[in-house]
């Protein structure tokens, strides 16, 4: 009995792979699918808030953030994640319509107090615009907005004109009718 156990013990000792790792220096190799800390692509996020709505623990809050795309994300609202509550379920990732939210391989979230583990968009963003790009985009957005405004004004004018025309016609008709 003892010999047999020893045989297996020896066998295990000689054949098994590494069992203990020197943790902070040697990290475990994580698979590509790992659900760790979120990674936000701020250049494509449209600020729809789907992620915040699906989260079962309400740990996502939409907060303003500068380095996104004002063309797509008009209000410039981006997700901020409270890792004190996050369960890493991944529902927010599945729900994102433009697939800009992913989960990465980082898993260490320690902080000195509760506020430290609330990660704003700047901490989870892996891709964002630089100051210059943002300025350009903002200018573009402004231009577009103005164009739109103009177009809207023109459309309103036209509409008003049409309505007037219609009204005139109707009046005319009414007049005819009255006369008849």
């Amino acid at each position: 009995m003892v010999l047999k156990s020893l045989k297996y013990t020896l066998k295990t000792a000689l054949t098994t792979t590494e069992v203990t790792r020197l943790y902070p220096e040697v990290m475990m190799e994580l698979p590509a699918n790992e659900r760790g800390i979120h990674e936000l692509d701020a250049t494509t996020c449209i600020g729809c808030g789907s992620c915040a709505r699906i989260c079962p623990n309400s740990c996502i809050e939409m907060v303003p953030y500068r380095y996104g795309n004002p063309l797509k994300n008009r209000k410039m609202q981006f997700p901020q994640i409270d890792y004190g509550r996050c369960t890493f379920c991944g529902l927010c990732v599945d729900e994102c319509p433009v697939s800009c939210l992913k989960m990465g391989k980082t898993t260490e979230i320690a902080g000195w107090d509760r506020k430290d583990i609330v990660y704003g968009p700047d901490r989870i963003a892996v891709k964002k615009f630089s100051e210059k790009e943002v300025a350009e985009l903002e200018a573009e957005a402004k231009r577009q907005a103005e164009e739109k405004k103009k177009a809207a004004a023109a459309a309103a004018k036209e509409k008003a004109a049409k309505a007037k025309g219609k009204e005139n016609k109707a009046k005319a008709k009414l007049g005819e009718g009255g006369e008849a």
């Binding site: 047999k4 079962p56 991944g90 529902l91 599945d94």
Partner: protein, 562 residues
């Protein structure tokens, strides 16, 4: 069905045959016991699987759903419903027919306030004494301590010197009669002390923190000398109210909570919940998704059995080698394999309605095959080692024997039932997914003792490896997700779906009222049934064997107190 109708004319109010394995009937509350007795004696419904309460507040009714099945004589599950008025809810108890109806009825009583006539011990099971009388799972429950004031906890020193913190209702509310009147019953301590008959007996406490299970519960043993005369079990220390939480989440959000009921069985819990919702939605997952689900369910069975067995062997003080560390080393491989698919180690949230979250990663089969091969060798090693260990054999053989008849009567399922010579496995009895296409055998043992239960688990690991290997060979290409409606809003209805958890029969009963959130979710867990069966199993055992018996059941309180 027609047999019931002809035997009891006029007492079947409604009936629906969902498939050849599900029968829904609504019966007259007055005839409930007679019909159940008829089903049990004449139609082989010898397994009482559970009961659920539903609060139909809009119709001013309570429903009690009794789930009856058979141990292998046939595969029909009868879901028998009685409807009772809400203002004076009372039904007749089935404890006279099925021993294990006891806890299920107690739970319904404490959650809904439905009285069970003829129940021998209608005491709270999961709730603390302060909450009894509030009936928390009624739909008009406002939350607790809703009726209290700012001064929440009040310190009280009792006559025996213990300090207790109580959350007291506001005195004005008591005067106004808003605070419900508490039913009168003896407390747990009074109940067990009433059983002490002579000076040679004493009560020994094991728990609420004890090493035999990973979770708190109180096991009090009334012992005389070295023998256990009676055992008392108190659960509910970590009651989380998951069933109620899920009523307040959308269907998809509820999935996250099923993981957290038991971290060793999170995939099977996901599976059972998704299966029930899929039934409500009327969809079936594509074949590839079904295969992926089977692979993961079996992987999760392997890791659960490894951890359960390893931990238990450590408690037994397994000599000359340290099985726990060995099994953890092996489990790590399996967990890594699961992580590479789902992205999480234990709380997977992986199964989705009509499919799975993501496909198997590239090269999964090539990675899995050597691990499984090694796993097989190692399991055979363990079996060999355990067989030849005289200390182990002495401590396990013939200990805590559960005869086949008793095992069925007490309502246990999974490995303990199969170790008692009853080939009852949900993968056979109520086949789901692609299990009918796969070749595997249901592992049984004749002895019914603690040793047999561990053997069944170890051999099931081998069977699971065999199943996964077949799946890896057969898995077809194709989509992994069925098309879903944009908003998951099932038609009003109800579904019951059960799977073979690593520990036994896990069932989800989901009621939909046509909204985005489930109207009621009831979890019928396997460990609940083990726990209930523990006191009678311990009676007459030596104190030294209590750990061997209780540990060999591989229980997990987290699921009992879901």
């Amino acid at each position: 069905m027609s047999a019931i109708q002809s035997a009891f004319p006029g007492s079947v109010l409604e009936s629906r045959v969902e498939s050849d394995r599900r029968l829904w009937i609504t019966v007259d509350p007055k005839k409930l016991v007679e019909i159940t007795q008829f089903l049990r004696d004449k139609k082989d419904f010898d397994h009482y699987s559970g009961a659920a309460g539903v609060d139909r507040i809009n119709d001013n009714l309570f429903e009690v759903v009794e789930i009856l099945t058979s141990h292998g004589a046939h595969q029909v599950v009868v879901l028998m419903k009685v409807k009772i008025p809400r203002d004076k809810p009372s039904v007749r108890s089935l404890t006279g027919l099925y021993w294990n109806a006891n806890w299920y009825e107690r739970e319904i009583w404490e959650m809904y306030g439905i009285n069970f006539e003829g129940h021998p011990e209608l005491y709270p099971l999961l709730l603390p004494d302060e909450l009894v009388g509030y009936w928390p799972w009624r739909k008009d429950f406002k939350g607790y301590p809703d009726t209290t004031t700012g001064e929440r906890a009040i310190e009280q020193v009792g006559p025996d010197g213990y300090t207790e913190f109580k959350i007291m209702p506001h005195p004005e509310l008591i005067k106004a009669g808003v605070v419900p009147e508490r039913p009168k019953y003896p407390t747990f301590r009074e109940r067990e002390e009433a059983e002490i008959k002579s000076d040679s007996e004493m009560i020994m406490h094991m728990g609420p923190q004890h090493a035999i299970v990973p979770g708190p519960f109180l096991l009090d043993l009334l012992i005389e000398g070295e023998r256990v005369k009676k055992a008392f079990l108190d659960v509910g220390y970590i009651h989380k109210g998951i069933e109620k939480i899920m009523e307040n989440r959308t269907y998809l959000q509820g999935l996250v909570y099923t993981d957290r009921m038991c971290y060793l069985a999170s995939i099977t819990n996901n599976e059972a919940y998704c299966g029930a919702v899929e039934k409500l939605l009327g969809i079936t997952p594509p074949e590839r998704a079904q295969y992926i689900r089977v692979i993961l369910a079996e992987l999760s069975r392997i890791q659960s059995h490894l951890l359960g067995t390893g931990e238990f062997l450590t408690l037994l003080g397994a000599a000359t080698y340290s099985p726990f560390q060995y099994m953890i080393i092996d489990r790590e491989d399996i967990v890594y394999l699961m992580e590479s698919v789902t992205g999480a180690r234990i709380t997977h949230t992986f199964v989705r309605f009509g499919g799975v979250r993501n496909d198997l990663p590239d090269g999964f089969a090539d990675k899995a095959r050597p691990i499984l091969k090694r796993m097989r060798e190692r399991t055979e090693e363990y079996m060999d080692l355990l067989h030849s260990d005289p200390i182990y054999t002495r401590r396990m053989r013939g200990i805590g024997v559960l005869s086949p008849g008793d095992a069925r009567r007490l309502g246990v399922s999974g490995p303990p039932l199969r170790a008692s010579d009853t080939p009852y496995d949900m993968r056979r009895e109520d086949p789901i997914l692609v299990y009918p296409d796969l070749d595997f055998k249901v592992v049984t043992r004749k002895a019914g003792d603690a040793e047999a239960r561990v053997e069944v688990r170890l051999e099931e690991i081998l069977e699971s490896i065999h199943i996964i290997e077949q799946c890896l060979d057969q898995i077809p290409e194709g989509p992994i997700q069925e098309k879903l409606p944009k908003k998951i809003k099932p038609e009003p209805g109800e579904a019951y779906y059960r799977v073979e958890d690593p520990r036994g029969e896990m069932g989800f009963y989901v009621v939909s009222d046509g909204s985005e959130k489930p109207y009621r979710v009831k979890v019928r867990g396997p460990v609940y049934a083990y726990m209930q069966a523990l006191p009678p199993l311990l009676e007459g055992a030596y104190v030294a064997d209590v750990v061997a018996i209780a540990g060999s059941m591989d229980a997990c309180t987290s699921e009992v107190d879901r």
